[in-house]
């Protein structure tokens, strides 16, 4: 019998002998209920016991994991701190002013160069403070550059804004504004959120002064050179043109002729110098028009035919019989390039021929000039198209008429019109093929 039930029955009847016989089946029934209850309790107790153990193991695991996590977090924090230190050092070390602003133009981060460049007395807290500095330095005159609206444009259209030369008192400033945007957490494709912008403020005063003095140097130097050269050349040419009969000594006449020739070369060098300086500063005006390259080539070939014939060189042009589209370029400049390429081919060839070919190459027309001249060694090929480079000293000695600037000028002219210049091939002793391209008229 169930122990608990037995104890309860003893409390009621004193002894188990006193339990009336007629309730025994009932007691047996109750007893089995008690037994079931006991079994249930055992089950609960056992499972409780088990889960306690499991909990303990889990706890242990968790605390281990949290330890690992803590180490990781502290390491990452340190990394982040180092990263931040590096970034800040980089930003603070920049020679130009640096600002990170939020969407309300509030300055979140800036570097010391900013206040130094703009000579700010108070610490700026907003980009509006910077804009005010521009207004106050302009002293009532109109500020040529609206900083705030430029920043707005940058953020609104997610576009980099650059202003190259903004006057700031006696300084010249370059502005650069770039938007900062993040990818949206919801992961929508292409959706980004703009959270502010980066503003760079660079002091370009020195570069500007340097550029100006370079310009002035060139125009003054060229004028100062051209004036005495005009006098030297003028006198030499007049001696030869009007007093030739009075010069009886052939040596004297030869010397005057040399003065005139050297003067002519010097004048050409000064002229080339000027042209290069204008081309490099993009000051030369190009007037592009639809034109026939074959026509220009023929003009130049007619001009240079005497020079070629005197050396016994053949001058030939080859172009597709079904015609070519028109080029879109500045006629005089194209003529100058042709003259330079064909002139070089004639100058550097002692015998054989100069072959010019014009063909279509995609959106461009390509002009090939092939000579049977001295050729260019692989080493000298790397020096071509540079300023003051005639390929090799040997060639330079052979050709005192050249300034060494022709190929470089041609390259600048071709590039300014959107084309390219190339040395197609060259074999020393056999000849070279040069080419240039000009865009086809739309």
């Amino acid at each position: 019998m169930n122990k608990l039930l037995l104890r309860q029955l003893k409390k009621v009847f004193g002894d188990s002998q006193n339990i009336p016989k007629e309730i025994e089946p009932f007691i047996a029934l109750v007893g089995s209920t008690y037994d079931h209850a006991d079994e249930d309790r055992h089950m609960v107790e056992r499972s409780f016991d088990l889960s306690s153990k499991e909990m303990a193991t889990l706890n242990q695991k968790l605390s281990k994991q949290s330890e690992v996590l803590e180490i990781m977090v502290s390491e990452r924090t340190k990394e982040l701190r180092n990263e931040k230190a590096r970034l800040l050092a980089a930003i603070n070390g920049l020679s130009f002013g640096f600002i990170i602003a939020d969407m309300n133009d509030k300055i979140i981060l800036k570097n010391p160069a900013l206040s130094k460049i703009l000579e700010l007395k108070d610490i700026p807290t907003s980009v509006h403070d910077i804009a005010k500095a521009f207004e106050s330095i302009a002293e009532g005159s109109i500020v040529a550059f609206d900083l705030i609206s430029s920043c707005k444009e940058c953020v609104e259209f997610k576009r980099i804004i650059e202003k190259k030369e903004v006057e700031y008192g006696k300084k010249f400033i370059r502005f650069f504004c770039a938007p900062i945007f993040t990818e949206d957490e919801t992961g929508h494709d292409g959706y980004t959120e703009t959270i502010g912008y980066v503003l760079l403020i660079e002091d370009i005063t020195e570069a500007k002064i340097l550029e100006r003095s370079r310009d002035e140097f060139f125009s003054i130097a060229s004028h100062e050179l051209r004036t005495p050269l005009t006098a030297i050349q003028g006198n030499a040419s007049m001696l030869l043109d009007f007093y030739a009969e009075k010069i009886s000594d052939p040596d004297v006449k030869a010397m005057i002729t040399d003065i005139f020739s050297a003067g002519t070369r010097l004048i050409k060098i000064v002229g080339d110098f000027l042209k290069i300086s204008r081309l490099e500063q993009r000051r030369l005006v190009f007037e592009a028009e639809p034109l026939s390259l074959v026509e220009v080539a023929n003009e130049v070939m007619n001009d240079l035919r005497i020079l070629a014939n005197n050396k016994g060189l053949e001058l030939r042009l080859d172009s597709p019989t079904d015609g070519l589209p028109q080029a879109f370029a500045d006629r005089d400049k194209v003529k100058e390039i042709f003259t330079n390429f064909i002139g070089n081919a004639i100058n550097y060839s002692q015998e054989g021929s100069v072959d010019i070919a014009i063909l279509r190459a995609g959106r461009f027309l390509k002009v090939l000039v092939k000579d049977t001249g001295v050729g260019i060694s692989p080493h000298d090929q790397t020096l071509l198209f540079r300023k003051f480079q005639q390929a090799g000293d040997v060639l330079a000695r052979n050709n005192s008429q050249s300034t060494g600037l022709g190929l470089y000028i041609s390259k600048l002219l071709v590039e300014a019109m959107g084309g390219t210049t190339t040395l197609e091939e060259s074999t020393p002793g056999k000849g070279s093929t040069f080419s240039f391209t000009v865009p086809i008229a739309p």
């Binding site: 125009s219 060229s222 004028h223 051209r226 004036t227 005495p228 050269l229 005009t230 006098a231 050349q233 003028g234 006198n235 040419s237 007049m238 043109d241 009007f242 004048i267 002229g271």
Partner: protein, 131 residues
């Protein structure tokens, strides 16, 4: 004697052109700055057949001399040539619209060629004014 007026501040160049014009049968009246040009021209008699001006002249620029000449009816029928070696801020078109009849870069022409160009200018001018 046929006279040509020249404002030129470089003495070597002035001498070159003086010789070149003399060979061609002209007398060249030379002044060396802008103010001298204006002063000399105000009393010049007889009038020169042509006036040649340098651009970068001391005291008053060639452009100023040109403008002042073109506002004076006395010089209405006299051709003015600009002969320069410098790179003025003004373009050839600006000198032409201010009344210059010819614009030349000195170094691009031999003195003999400059004389020929001026002679042609005088000839063209006479024909234009007669017609």
């Amino acid at each position: 004697m046929n006279t040509i007026f020249l404002a030129e501040d470089d003495e070597y160049i002035a001498r070159v052109y003086t010789r070149a014009f003399r060979i061609a049968g002209y007398e060249l009246v030379v002044v060396t700055d802008g103010e001298a040009a204006l002063q000399s021209l105000s009393s010049i008699d007889p009038l020169p057949q042509a006036i040649i001006l340098d651009v970068s002249l001391p005291k008053t620029s060639g452009l100023n001399v040109l403008k002042s000449l073109r506002s004076n009816s006395r010089f209405e029928h006299i051709p003015v040539a600009i002969l320069t070696n410098s790179f003025p801020k003004e373009t050839e078109e600006q000198f032409k619209s201010a009344g210059a009849n010819l614009y030349m870069i000195k170094i691009e022409y031999k003195p003999g060629e400059v004389v020929e160009k001026i002679e042609q200018l005088i000839k063209d001018h006479v024909t234009t004014n007669k017609s």
